[in-house]
């Protein structure tokens, strides 16, 4: 290659990069101008594919309504419903929110307006704006009718593939060829799914912006998830071909771009109603108990660090940090647990159990007098403790 060719080649690169950036801006703007595809009060026609989907979803919702996994707290339900309504105004009446006691990061919204918000999600977000980011994303799926589009896409692709497979086989195509064609078809389905996730991300940002939440918080949610994934002892092996969602890194970046495009800065405080701590905080202990039972302690440790950073209900949070160390039981964890229990007791939200837990560590180290004081304190604070007789037996005379 001579010099001229090299320079020419490179200016083409630059032109390409510039047009890429222009394209990117255009798609960002498109993403932020998405309109809802269903009017408020929408119901599908009786003989449509969508009506069948609604029928199944309504049957499922009937089961869900009486499920023991639904968190029965009217305040929480109202809080989440009002949040959804703040994001979805006109569609408020079409949405029904169910807070679920399921300790994984997820929320979902079905074609008929049924929304689930899982406890594992409520544990991991640090503000109402972050909660709004996920709920807004789910509403994006709903308002752009993704469930039905996804089904129609999968159905049609599978139908076409069936004919293609039979035809290819009949034409004498080898096993390998048929497999490759089928694989390409499945790839199309997963790729469509990823595109819908991208659209829902954009829609969520738009809804946050209209409701005055800082969309940067959406990006923060994904950054937390990336950090949690990296902290995991057993890492999930993602295959980008079969992924239903774009990578977390891509989403964090795109969401940040959207937020910048809308003129927000990362540090700008977001709108908040101020009820997040009180309403979600009520259920923190339950959520942390469930989280500990999953026994993926490295991830739990990280979540606890976030909660300590968020800085509310610290007594309770430090107590569960102590519990995490106690259960993990690695080298040095006993000392860490002790420090965490002691930190818990410096705050007024520490549960009485923090005294009991500290008492056991003191007893183990042979300090009977201090242990007895801790156990007594536990029984004073929790006179109706079910383990009263047991704990009393540890108290030295």
């Amino acid at each position: 290659m001579n010099r001229r060719q090299f320079i020419g080649g490179c200016s083409a690169c630059a032109a390409m990069a510039a047009s890429q950036a222009a394209l990117m801006r255009a798609s960002l703007a498109d993403g932020l101008n998405l309109a809802p595809e269903l009017p408020p009060g929408y119901r599908p026609d009786g003989d449509s594919t969508e009506a069948g989907l609604w029928l199944l979803t309504e049957k499922f919702e009937d089961q869900l309504r009486t499920s023991s996994l639904v968190i029965r707290d009217d305040n929480l339900k109202t809080y989440l419903t009002e949040l959804a309504c703040r994001l979805g105004h006109n569609h408020c009446r079409d949405m029904r929110v169910y807070p679920m006691r399921i300790p994984y990061f997820n929320a979902s919204m079905a074609a008929n307006g049924m929304m689930q918000v899982w406890s594992g999600l409520m544990l991991r977000v640090s503000s109402e704006a972050q909660l709004a980011a996920v709920i807004g994303h789910e509403m994006g799926h709903y308002l752009r009718r993704h469930t039905i589009k996804g089904w129609e896409n999968a159905r049609d692709t599978m139908n076409a593939l069936s004919f293609l497979t039979v035809g290819l086989t009949a034409a004498g195509a080898g096993y390998q060829t048929v497999n490759i064609v089928q694989l390409a078809g499945y790839g199309l389905i997963f790729s469509y799914s990823r595109d819908m996730e991208r659209e829902a991300d954009a829609y969520g940002v738009q809804l946050m912006h209209k409701a005055n939440y800082n969309p940067w918080e959406a990006s923060k949610v994904w950054r937390r998830l990336i950090a949690e994934r990296d902290a995991a002892k057993y890492k999930r092996q993602d295959n980008p071909f079969f992924a239903t969602h774009p990578s977390e890194a891509e989403r964090a970046q795109t969401l940040a771009n959207y937020a910048s495009e809308l003129g927000y800065s990362e540090t700008q405080p977001s709108f908040e109603t101020g009820s997040f701590e009180k309403i979600i905080g009520q259920h923190r202990a339950m959520m942390l108990e469930d989280e500990l039972k999953l026994r993926h302690f490295n991830r739990t440790a990280l979540i606890l660090d976030w909660l300590i950073e968020d800085g509310f209900r610290l007594g309770e949070t430090y107590y569960y940090q102590g519990e995490m160390f106690r259960l993990r039981n690695q080298e040095g964890d006993e000392a860490r647990a002790k420090a965490a229990y002691q930190a818990a007791l410096r705050h007024d939200t520490a549960p009485p159990e923090a005294h009991r837990a500290l008492g056991f560590i003191q007893l183990k180290s042979g300090d009977r007098a201090t242990a007895s004081r801790s156990f007594r304190r536990y029984l004073e604070l929790k006179p109706d403790a079910t383990d009263r007789a047991m704990i009393s037996s540890y108290i030295g005379g």
Binding site: G46, D47, S48, T49, A51, G52, L53, W54, L55, L56, Q63, R65, T66, S67, S68, V70, R72, W151, A154, R155, M158, N159, L161, S162, F163, V166, G167, A170
Partner: protein
């Protein structure tokens, strides 16, 4: 006592490309329903669990809301006629009754029956899935809490009915013809379902009947009558 019957209801005839056959197979713990002499039996009909779908070329099924709603209505009519013919007092479970919340024993029984019905289908009818502890016997039960239904409705037995029915879409028919042309057989839509009779004093599933029918059609009145008869004909009296 354990009764066991297998019947072929209809001579199988060639319809389009596949043989249309209906077969039922039932298990029962009793010969006769338990009632005082000359007393009319009260059977509580639980909400029908019926779904109709179109069968896609690929074999996926897509639920059709209109067919499903119509089938529910037609089946209910057919069941009412069947009960009248048998002189049974039929009452229907009210899904909108007060107090049917998460803690309700009645709601739990509905959900439990679904799980038990599925277990019976898989482990008693599912070929190689037989459970060692259930071999040569049929003793499934919902447990004594079934009494809450007896008390709420003053009924002797509860009848649960489950049907999934699918019909070939135009694409599937094309696929069947295409495959047949190439010398391969490909199935069309099929109706499967079960009826389960529960003694509300004990909760025991006293009779259970599974239907498989490639020629049934719940979209017509005649078809609904045929399905209901196939499902309930062998019910102990």
């Amino acid at each position: 006592m354990i009764g066991k019957g297998v019947r072929l209801l209809l001579a199988c005839g060639l319809v389009l490309l596949t043989a249309a056959c209906a077969s039922t197979k039932d298990y029962s713990q009793i010969n006769k329903l338990d009632k005082a002499v000359d007393e009319r039996l009260t059977v509580l009909l639980m909400p029908l669990d019926v779904e109709l779908s179109s069968l896609q070329a690929s074999g996926l099924t897509e639920v059709n809301a209109e067919w499903t709603e119509e089938a529910n209505r037609l089946m209910l009519d057919a069941i009412r006629d069947f009960k009248a013919a048998r002189n049974i007092n039929l009452i229907e479970f009210d899904p909108n009754a007060a107090g049917l919340d998460a803690g309700s024993e009645q709601v739990r029984l509905l959900k439990l029956n679904r799980a038990v019905g599925e277990a019976i289908l898989i482990h008693k009818y599912g070929g190689n899935n037989e459970l060692p502890s259930k071999r040569d016997k049929f003793d499934w039960t919902l447990g004594p809490s079934a009494r809450v239904l007896a008390e709420a409705y003053d009924a002797d037995y509860a009848l649960f009915i489950f049907v999934r029915d699918s019909y070939s879409s135009a694409g599937r028919v094309a696929m069947q013809i295409f495959a047949a042309f190439l010398g391969a057989g490909m199935s069309g839509g099929v109706q499967i379902g079960y009826a389960s009779l529960v003694d509300l004093k004990t909760g025991d599933v006293v009779w259970f009947n599974v239907l498989q029918d490639t020629g049934g059609d719940l979209r017509s009145e005649r078809g609904a009558v045929r399905t209901v008869e196939n499902l309930l004909e062998d019910m102990p009296q």
